[in-house]
Symmetry: D3
Subunit: 340 residues, 6 copies
C-alpha cells in the first residue's frame, strides 16, 4: 500500500512501516504459538478494526543511532518477532492463558538514516496517535535504545496534557545525564522528561541501580529532582517484589498513568550479554520476570517499553529470549489484572 | 574385533561400538582423574567381567536425528569423555571419594544414519541387555536427545515386565506432545511411555517446569494422565530439595524402580547455553547438582540419563562441564546411598 | 488454510507448507530488493496462477536429519529468505536485470520429525508435482542436506520416465557411499540415483573433488560406474570455465535434461565455514559463481539445488550470503540463456 | 588541557580530542614498532610543530551513526591504534623502511551523540583545517562510515575551492543512493559530492564493484553522471594493477588532487568479515594491498581514507589487521613516490 | 626513558615497564571515569612523588606461561586498563566516592619470554620494592596466573621477614599441588608459600572451594598443614559474609598482615567464562563483590591480587568487567575502612 | 606402564607420554580413515617393533609456553589426532593411497609446567632418540610453537654431528630475533640454529615472507648470515612451485639432510585464523599444500614439523583441518618419492 493510499483509507499511522514480515499460520489454530497469536495490523484493515477490542498494541522502534555507545538495538523488533515462535502464550507457573487477550503488531516506526530528531518526532507522533485513536489499548514499545522512552511518554502527554504520568524504571542507570552534552540520547531520557515538564522527578521510581555505573553527580541530580530509587542491594534486602509493590503504591497516589520502562541492562551481564552497557552484579532473570509481572497487574500501568537490547552482542539468543519473556510476563500480569 | 567375533566371545552387546577413544593412563594411579577412573569395557574382556562388582555402566547414545529442532546432541557422549579429564572423582563439599565405585564405559549404541526406528530399537535392546546381563549394575545413559528416555525405560520394562517403573524428570517441558504428529521424538517420550503402558502417568514426577514453553493442552493432558508436576517457582517456594524428596517419597510407595531423567534445558539458558530448546528463567546450576545428588541417594533409583545437551551450541564448555558435573553429583549421591 | 481446504481449491501441493513468513513490501516497487521481487505463491491463488508465465519456482527442503554428521541445514531455506533482503536482483558485472524473470517461492516441503522415508517421499512428490503441473517452470530446491538431490531427480523421473537426466555436480565428495550402510543419506545420493536406475553413472559429471575426502573405493566405484570427474586441481589447470563447458557439452549429447547440484562444501572451508563437511583446499567463491552462471546459460539445465549449508556453523553470514549469491548467479545465466 | 587553553596556544583543532590513549615507548628506539613510530600530536606542542616536516597526519573519525545498517565503525580508530603494535614500519617485499616518514596522530574528531549534522560539520572543519594549516601534510582519515568521505573532500574543497578534486574509490558499492531519502549517510557520499558540486562525476573512478549489491538505477545514475567504474571481473581481466594505473592516468589529466577512499567492503567477505555490508565475491587481500600501494605512489594523491570497518563484527582481528596493512601499504607507495 | 636514566633518577623500579598506554584526559575533571582517576606513575616523576599520600598502587603482572593449562592471563592488565573507561569511581549502593583515594598505576613487571624463574624473581623484587619504598601504600597486583601470589607474598616477606602474613583466598582450588611435579605454577602457590616458610598453613583461609576440582590428597595435605577452608556450600549455609568475617577475625588474631587473593575461577563458569579452569557450581558475581568489599574494610588487609582471568576465553567482556568490579569493590571497602 | 617398566622393556622414549587417547578401531579395515591407519606405538610393544618397516613417526610436542604472545599451540597435537577422523588416507587429486606407508604415533614429549629449558631438553632428546634408534624413519613433529624446530634439529645434529642439515622454512617471519632478549622462543629458532652452529645461514631457505612483520634489522641479519629468502610476492611472480624446487635444488647440493618447517602463520590470516601471529596477505591454502607436497617428494627431506597453530583461536576447525592436510600433503609427496 502506498503512503498516499494509506492516507486515503484513514489509516492513522503514516509514520509506520508494517512489520517487515508476517508469519504464515493456519487460521484459528486451537493452540497457537506466540507468533500465531499476535496479529499483524494490516493497514488496509485499519479502519475496520474495532479498537475497543484490542487489548494491547506492539510498536517496533528500530532506532539506536541515539545510543551513546554503538548499538544494534534497532534490530531488536525484528528479532523479537522471530523469537515469538519459541514461546507459547500460556504461562504454566501462573496458569494464565494469554490467548483471550487481543494483541496486535502495528509494525515499526519509520526511521530516518541521518536525522535523529526526525526519528524521535515520528516516535512521538506514533505514541500520540496510539493514545488518540485507541486510548484503551495498552501500548508496548520494543526498542531501540532508551531515548525512545522520552518520546513515547511525550507522545502520550501530547495527547492528554492534563493527565499526570509516573515512571517505573528497571535499570542499572539513572539516565539523567546532561541534555546539553548528549541531546536526547539513551543516557538522558529521564532528564529529558523531567526538564521538559512531561513528568515530575518525584514521580519516577528506579529499581535495580547498582555498582559503579552512575556518576555521583547523577545521584545528586536524582536526589535534587526527587527521583525515587532503590538499589539492587536494597531491593534484595527488602524483597524485590516488595520494592515493586511499594513503588506502584506510591505512584498510584500521585499519578493517573504509570509507564513501565525496562532497560535490559538492569540484568546481570551474564544473564543478558546482549546489551550495549551491560554490567556485572545486576538483577537475575527470574527476578526481572516477577517484577514485570507484578507491574503488569497494576491497573494504572498503561504503557511499557523494553529497550537497550543489542542482538548483535547477544549469545545463543539468551537476551532476545529473555526480552520476549519480559513482554509475556508483563502480559501475564495484565491478564491477572483483568481477572481482578 | 569383528561383529562375528564379538558374538563368539559371548559379548552381549552386538549393538554397541566401543568408545571412540580410550584415554591413555598409567594403571593404578593413586589419584586418578575421572577419565582414568572410569574404565572402558573391552569387548574382548567382556566375558571375564564380574558384573556383580560393577556399580554403574555408562552408555553413550549418539542420537539426535529425532530432535524436533536441529541438534548435535549426538556429539555429547564423546564430549563427555573428553571433559572427564577436567574433573577429579572426589567431591570436596560432600567429602565423597568416588573411586571405590566401579564404573565402566560401555561405549556407544550403534546408530543408523537414516532409519530412526532402527536407532531406537538398538537403544532399547542395549538397555534391555544391561538389565538382563547385569541387573545390579546401574545404567547411566548419556544422550542424545530426550527420545532415548522412552527407549531406555522400554528396554528395562522388556526385561522385567512385572516391575513398575516411576519417572523423576527434571525438565522445562512436559515432553507430552502428540505421538501422532511427531513420532518418538524428543518432545514425546513421556507420552510414549504412558501410551505404551510402560509406566503410568501418576508415576511421573516432573520438577522444574516454568515459563511459556508448554502449551495449555499439554498441561491438560498431564493433569488428565495424573502426571505430577512442580513448577520452578513452586519448587523454589517449598525448597527444591524438599520437592525432590517429596517426589521420591511418593514414588517409592508406588513403584519398584525409579528412573531419573535430566533434560539439560531445565537449567536457565545463561547457565546452560548449549541446549537446543534452552529458556530463560530456569534452574540454577547448583540447584540442579543438589537435586540430582539427592536423587542419587535414593535406593530405588536404578537408572538415569542426561539428555538434550548440544555441544555445538555450547560456549566455553559451560554446558558440557555442567553435564559431567551432573553425572558426578548423581554418583556422589549413589556413594552416599551405599554408605547408608 | 486447512489441509482440507487446500485439497478443495485444487492446490496441487498438499505436501507443502507455505514459507514461514512473507516479507511485507510495497507492491510494484520500481526497484525491488530480492525479497520484494520473488513472490510467495499463496495456496489460495494457486489455481489462478498462469504457470506458463512463471520462470522458476523455489522450493525449501528443510531436511537434515539424513545428514551423516549433525547438521542444521534444515534451517537454510528460512535463512535464505531472510538474506534476500541484502541483495538486489541486478547483476552489475553481467549487466543483467533479473526482474523480468518471474520467480515464485512455493514454501517448504512438510517434513516429519522421526520418519525420514516419509520426508523423502514428500520431497519426491513435490518434485514430481512441479514437473507435472508446470513443466516449463524451472525448479530450484534449497536444501537441506544432499540426500534431497536423489529425491528431486527421482521425482522428475517419476513424471517423465522416458526422459534421460544427467547430473552436473559441484562437490568435494563423490556422494557414492554405500546405500546398504547409510541408506538415503547425504553421502549416497549419486549412488542412489545410479543404483535405482534414475540416471546412468556416465551421465554424471562431478567437478571440484579434491584432497583427502573420498575413500579410494569410492573413486573405484565412480570409475566402474563411468562417472566423469574433474578434480579441483585439474579444473584449475584447464580452466574451471572450460571444465564446466566441457561437461555441459558432453551431457547435452547424451541426456534430455541436465540437473545442477551445488554442494556448498565444494568451496574452500575459509570461504564457506558453514558446511557440515567443509574442507580446506576447495573452490574459491568467485570461481563457484562463474561455474554456476555458466551452467545457468545452458538451455538443457532444467533443475538445480543448493545443499549442505549449515547456518548454525556459519560465521557472519558468509556462507548464507554466498549461497544466495549462487542462486542469483544461476538465475543470471538463466536470463542470459533466454537472451540467446 | 581545557578547550579554552587550547584556543590560547594557537592549537588549530578545537574540534579534536587527543587519541584516547598514547603508547608508552622508549624514545629513539632504533627499531620501533608502528605504534612507537607514529607520534601523537600533543596539543601543547602544536604551535612548536614544524608542519613542513610532517609528511602525513592521521585523523580518527569515530562516526557510524550515519551508517544505513547498524555499525560500530566508530570504534575503528581506537582499534587501529591498538593494532599498530603488531606491525613494524618496514615493508620487506618492497624493501621500504617507513621510519624516515614523519607521521603524526592528531586524535579523533569530537562527535556529538545525537546531532549527526554537527558531527559532519566537525569533520569538514577538521579536514579544512588540515589543508589550511599544513597543506603539504597528507591527511589520512580513519573512519567511521563512508559518509565521512564527503565531509573530508568538502573540507578540502572549502579551503581551496579553485582546485579540482578527483576520487579513486575502491568499493563494492557506487555510494550514489538518494540524498533525499538517506541524507548524508554511508550510501550517499559520492552523490553528495557530485550534487554539491564538490567534484564532477567524470572525475570519479570506482574499482571493485561486483555482484548483486547495486540497484540498476544507481548504475544508470553513475552512467548519466559520467562516473567511471570497473567491475571486479573486468579489473581481474585486465589486471587490477593496470586498472588502478589507468584510473590514475586518466585522473591526473583532469584534476589537481586525487583522493583515495577505501571501503573495506570491497574485500571478499571471507577476507574481511568485519564490515557492515560485506559481500562474497570481492577483492582479495593482496590485491587490495597492491592497489593501494600503487595509488600511494602517485604524486597527485593528496588524501585518503579507510572506512566501513566494523570491529564488532570482526573475527580474530582479520579485518582490523587488514585495515592497518592498507594504511601501511599506502604509505609504502608514498615512500616510493618520494624516491621517484 | 632508558633503563640507565631510570636508575639515575632514583626510580626504584628497574623491573617495571610503564603501562602500555596512558589514557588521554582533561586534567582535574570534576567527575572522572576510573581511567581518568587512576594516575600513571611516570618514571620521571617518581622521585618527586610523595608516597605517603598514595593510598594504593596497581601493578600489572603479565605472566601466564606458568599456568598449567594454556592461558592468556598475561593480557589481563592491559584489558583492565581499557575496561576502566566503563566504570565511574562512585559506588552507588554504598554511597562511596573513591576519588579521594590516591591510586597510581605503576605499570607492568617486565617478563622474560623463556625464563620463568627470572619472571618470578622480577615480580618478587617489585613486590619487595613496593614494601620498602612506600610501605603505607597498599599493593594491588593484577595477574597473570596464580603463581604470582607466591612471589608477591615472598617479596613482602623479604622486606619484612619478622612480620607474619595470613592469606584470605577466594578460590575453587586449594592451589596446593606438588612443587616437585609442577614447580612454581598456578596450581602450587599456597604450597609454595607454606613449604618456603613464608606463611603457615594455619594462617590460610580458603573460601569458595566446591565440586570435583581438588584431588582428595590435596584436601588431606590442606588438613595436615592446618589450612582453613570453607566450601561454597558451607559458606552459603552460614552466609558468605559471615564466612568472610569469620576468616578475618581468626586471621587478625594471628598475623600482622592479611593478603587477599581472588582467583577469578571461584566464580561460577557462567558468571566468569574467561578463566582457564572455570567450573560450574561456583560463587555468584554479587557474592564475590560483597566478599571482597568486606575484606577491603579490614585494616589489616595490606595487599591483594586478582588472578587467572584469561581475556581470550572471555565473552562480551563479562569476566573482565567483573574483574574490574572486584578491584573497585575492594577499594570501596578500603574507603569504608578509612572512614571507620 | 610405569616409567620403571618402560625402561626395562627397552622402550627408548622415557621422555614421552603416550598419545592422550587411542582411537578404537576394528582391525584390518579395508578402507581406514586416517585415525585408523596411523597406529599408536604402545610402549609395551616397542622392542618388538621392526623399525625398518616404519616409514614415518609422529611426535606431539605440546609446548607453547615459549611463545612470545600467549598461545595454546600446546593443544594442537591432541586436536590433530581428533581431526584425523575427518580425513581418508587417499589423495584423489594425486591418486596416491597412503595406506602402504607405515606411520606410527609416538605420543607426546613430556613437558614441564614451569621449566622451559627442561621442556626443550626433552624435545631434543626425543629427536635424538628417533635418529639413533630408527634413523630410516622420518620424524614428523607436531608443535607446539616454533621454538621446537631448533630443538628438533639440534637433536638430529647431536646424533649425527658430521652431517650437514639445511632448512626449508615456510613462514611469514625470519625467526631470527635476538637470543639475548628472548631466549629460545618462537621468534628465535633459526638464529638459535645458526649461532649454535647447528646449521649455516646459507643453508636456510625461507619462502613466504611478506608484509610488515619483520624488522629491517632482521632482514639485515638474514643477509649477513647468508639466509636465502623469497617473499610471497616474488614466489608468486616466479611460481611458488618453482620457488620450492629451486630451494630444494640449491640445498641438495650443499647439505646431507633437508628439514622442512611449516609455520602455519605463513598462510593468509583468513585461511588460517588459528595462529598467534597471523597476518593478512599470506599464502593461500592450496599453495601451501602444493609446496609441502613438492618438499615431500625430495629424497633428502628427512624431517619436518608443523608449528604455531593455536586451536583456541581457530574458527570452525579451519586451521586444524588445514594443518592435518599439510601433514597428509607432505606424506603424499613422500609416497611419490618412493615411487620415483
Amino acid at each position: 500500500m502506498s503512503n498516499q493510499a494509506k492516507k486515503n483509507t484513514g489509516y492513522p499511522y503514516p509514520m509506520l512501516n508494517p512489520p517487515p514480515f508476517r508469519w504464515q499460520a493456519e487460521p484459528d489454530l486451537p493452540e497457537p504459538k506466540v507468533h500465531e497469536w499476535i496479529r499483524t495490523l494490516e493497514p488496509s484493515a485499519a479502519h475496520d478494526t474495532d479498537w475497543s477490542r484490542i487489548d494491547a498494541a506492539i510498536l517496533g522502534v528500530p532506532l539506536s543511532r541515539s545510543s551513546i555507545s554503538a548499538s544494534a538495538a534497532s534490530e531488536t523488533p525484528e528479532e523479537f518477532r522471530r523469537a515469538w515462535r519459541s514461546f507459547t502464550p500460556y504461562n504454566l507457573e501462573e496458569d494464565i492463558d494469554l490467548t483471550p487477550l487481543s494483541v496486535v503488531d502495528l509494525g515499526d516506526v519509520r526511521q530516518h538514516v541521518t536525522d535523529i530528531s526526525r526519528c524521535h518526532q515520528s516516535i512521538r507522533e506514533a505514541a500520540a496517535t496510539m493514545q488518540r485513536h485507541h486510548p484503551s489499548t495498552l501500548p508496548i514499545l520494543i526498542g531501540g535504545d532508551h531515548s525512545i522512552t522520552a518520546m513515547s511518554i511525550m507522545g502520550i502527554k501530547d495527547t492528554r496534557p492534563e493527565k499526570s504520568i509516573g515512571l517505573l524504571q528497571l535499570d542499572t542507570h539513572f539516565d539523567l545525564r546532561s541534555l546539553e552534552e548528549f541531546g536526547p540520547a539513551n543516557g538522558t531520557p529521564v532528564r529529558n522528561l523531567i526538564e521538559s515538564g512531561s513528568l515530575r522527578g518525584s514521580d519516577v521510581w528506579n529499581i535495580g541501580l547498582h555498582g559503579f555505573f552512575n556518576a555521583r553527580s547523577l545521584r545528586d541530580y536524582a536526589d535534587r529532582a526527587g527521583v525515587n530509587w532503590i538499589t539492587m542491594k536494597e531491593a534484595r534486602r527488602i524483597g524485590l517484589e516488595t520494592a515493586v509493590h511499594s513503588a506502584l503504591t506510591q505512584l498510584e497516589k500521585k499519578v493517573d498513568t504509570i509507564y513501565l520502562t525496562v532497560d535490559m541492562d538492569v540484568l546481570d551481564l551474564a544473564c543478558a550479554p546482549g546489551t550495549p552497557a551491560g554490567a556485572p552484579g545486576g538483577m537475575r532473570t527470574e527476578e526481572l520476570f516477577e517484577a514485570v509481572r507484578i507491574a503488569g497487574t497494576h491497573p494504572r500501568v498503561r504503557g511499557m517499553d523494553i529497550v537497550c537490547l543489542d542482538p548483535r552482542r547477544d549469545i545463543n539468543q539468551i537476551t532476545i529470549k529473555t526480552g520476549v519473556h519480559v513482554l509475556l510476563s508483563f502480559l501475564t500480569g495484565f491478564m491477572q489484572r483483568d481477572k481482578a
